[in-house]
């Protein structure tokens, strides 16, 4: 048994949109940064003989050793993590480690972890047990891969994997709840019972914050609004106090980076003006709602009207997105369900004995759950569709930071509990029994 009481554990949650990392016992994560990274393919001719000291390049993070699992045929690439992503570079693509919620590029995850530990938290991972938050849908192979990387690359003394929904439930002090986690890349609904996810109940949808941001962006563009990424212009003073926007010519900027920067702006518009309508959005009824002004980085002031209500309503009525020019249909043939349907379906997959408790303990988490009036709307929708006798209660932290970071906060609480210390999967156990032991130690 690992004696975890001696030093603070590290809690790390790499989501599809952002990475949260910090010390167990803290109220909030110390490091929060994008979980997408910049990537520039390197050829021998262009290798920089003096790589930037702060770059978290793949080779740098492993002291020259070849990263595990990197395809040897793949050209070498330099990855830019965290703050470095905010600086435009020629030919820099923006890439994600995940596809459909599953890690497909462990090298990126490795670099994100390295950045979190060594650049942001300034710790030596060999000295701290690690609690990793994982998606409710994580597979056995994904878990073993994560564990192997932690023990082999970071030499951590101990490890635990805990599911996102369990940690959110824990953060609210509940052993049983229905967790509705609407994050950046997706929305996941999971039933948690006595501290464990009921696997059959897990329900996912590709509609998350990023999808809503794309809808907002396309809708604004369809009205003729030009969103200028911050890197693409400068302000020139043409007379005292009066400025003119000058577009910069940067032909080597990648499309993915341009989109990333435009999304950042559209996301801020969304967060500033959006509000979930009381009932299903209706184009006619909302055609003449008063507008809200928003000033874009280039000084343009735009007026947002019906979109304020239409965009967030897509969480409840995903087919609304099809009415926005330029938004692609959902890839698979399975119709995407709205939040209320996901909740009902999730509860109905659980044992009848606990459904009542789940309906009365619906927890919201994730950044997208902070949209104004979402809680009230979800409660109303679920109440209308739930069994007659059910008492429906949707809860969310009043504090948007706690809502956004509820997974991390739950991990922080869990990993600092005295009773948790016997749960760690120790390095000694890993070395004796191998990585598959993780399935038993962290059920």
């Amino acid at each position: 048994m690992y004696g975890g009481d001696e030093v603070s554990a590290i809690v790390i949650d790499v989501g599809s949109y952002s990475c949260k990392a910090g010390y167990a016992g803290d109220d909030t994560p110390k490091a929060v940064f994008p979980s997408v990274v910049g990537s520039i393919e390197q050829t021998e001719d262009t290798d920089d003989p003096k790589p930037e000291k702060e770059a978290d390049s793949a080779s740098d993070s492993k002291n020259g050793a070849k990263p595990m699992d990197v395809d040897k045929a793949k050209t070498k690439r330099r990855l830019y993590v965290g703050q470095e992503l905010e600086f435009r570079r020629d030919h820099m693509e923006v890439i994600s480690s995940m596809k459909d919620g599953t890690v497909t590029d462990w090298d990126i995850v490795d670099n994100i972890w390295n950045h979190a530990f060594r650049r942001r938290l300034l710790i030596n991972p060999e000295e701290h047990p690690m609690l990793i938050a994982e998606p409710s849908t994580n597979t056995a192979q994904q878990r073993e891969k994560a564990a192997e990387l932690m023990f082999e690359n970071y030499k951590v003394p101990a490890l635990f994997l805990a599911k996102n929904a369990v940690l959110t439930s824990f953060a609210s002090g509940r052993a049983t709840s229905l967790v509705v986690d609407s994050g950046g890349g997706s929305t996941v609904v999971s039933a948690v019972h006595d501290g464990f996810v009921l696997q059959k109940s897990v329900s996912t949808s590709p509609v998350g914050g990023e999808f809503l941001t794309d809808c907002m962006m396309k809708s604004l563009e369809s009205k003729g609004i030009v969103i200028r990424p911050r890197y693409s212009f400068k302000k020139k003073e043409i007379s005292p106090g009066e400025y003119k926007i000058v577009d910069l010519d940067l032909p080597n900027t990648t499309e993915s980076y341009r989109l990333y920067c435009m999304r950042a702006i559209a996301s801020d518009v969304k967060e500033s003006v959006c509000r979930v309508p009381d009932t299903a959005f209706d184009e006619v009824a909302y055609a003449n709602v008063p507008t809200t002004s928003y000033e874009l980085p280039d000084g343009q002031t735009i007026e947002v009207g019906a979109d304020r209500f239409k965009v967030p309503d897509i969480l409840f009525n995903p087919s609304l997105s099809q009415t926005i020019p330029g938004i692609d249909g959902f890839a698979d043939s399975i119709p995407v369900r709205g939040l209320q349907r996901m909740v009902i379906d999730s509860v109905n997959k659980c044992d009848v004995d606990i459904r009542k408790e789940l309906f009365s303990n619906i927890l919201l988490s994730g950044g997208s759950s902070s949209i104004l009036q979402l809680k009230e709307r979800l409660e109303k929708e679920v109440l209308e569709e739930s069994p007659q006798a059910a008492r429906v209660k949707v809860m969310a932290s009043g504090n948007s930071v706690e809502r956004r970071f509820s997974v991390w906060i739950g991990g922080s609480i869990l990993a600092s509990l005295g009773s948790f210390q016997q749960m760690w999967f120790s390095k000694a156990e890993y070395e004796e029994h191998g990585v598959s032991y993780i399935q038993r130690k962290c059920p």
């Binding site: 056995a140 019972h193 006595d194 464990f196 009921l198 059959k200 044992d351 999967f425 130690k441 059920p443």
Partner: protein, 131 residues
């Protein structure tokens, strides 16, 4: 070594100061090969339902795993190999081997992971021995 010795010395043994509440080794046909004193008396259909869940993973999830009249909520196991259930601060782990089911029931302060280790370790051994 007799089946009862496996139960007494390998399933009911102490692990980090804790031990299972009860344990048993049951054949695939539902016959009890050995059990600890406190192991609940179960109905044949309860054991049949457990066997069915190994053949059809997910079968028990909507109804719960019932053993000796106690209902456990099914949590993530390993399809075809391990079923895990939870009830309050305790729970159950069932591992399937070639000819038997290894069953461990625990309660606080024993942890789910510790129960898994005890049950699955014996299960692995029996699988290696072709039993």
């Amino acid at each position: 070594m007799s089946w009862q010795t496996y139960v007494d010395e390998h399933l009911m043994c102490e692990i980090e100061g804790h031990h299972l509440t009860s344990a048993a080794i049951v054949g695939h046909d539902g016959a009890t090969w050995a059990q600890s004193t406190a192991f609940p008396e179960f109905k044949p259909e309860e054991m049949a339902a457990i066997m069915k869940d190994f053949d059809e993973p997910g079968h028990l999830a909507p109804t719960g795993l019932i053993l000796g009249g106690t209902k456990y909520m099914v949590i993530q196991g390993e399809p075809g190999a391990v079923i895990r259930g939870k009830k309050g601060s305790g729970g159950i782990t069932v591992k399937k081997t070639g000819q038997s089911l290894i069953i461990g029931i625990y309660d606080e302060p024993m942890t789910p992971g510790q129960c898994n280790l005890v049950v699955e370790r014996l299960g692995d051994y029996l699988l290696e021995q072709g039993m």
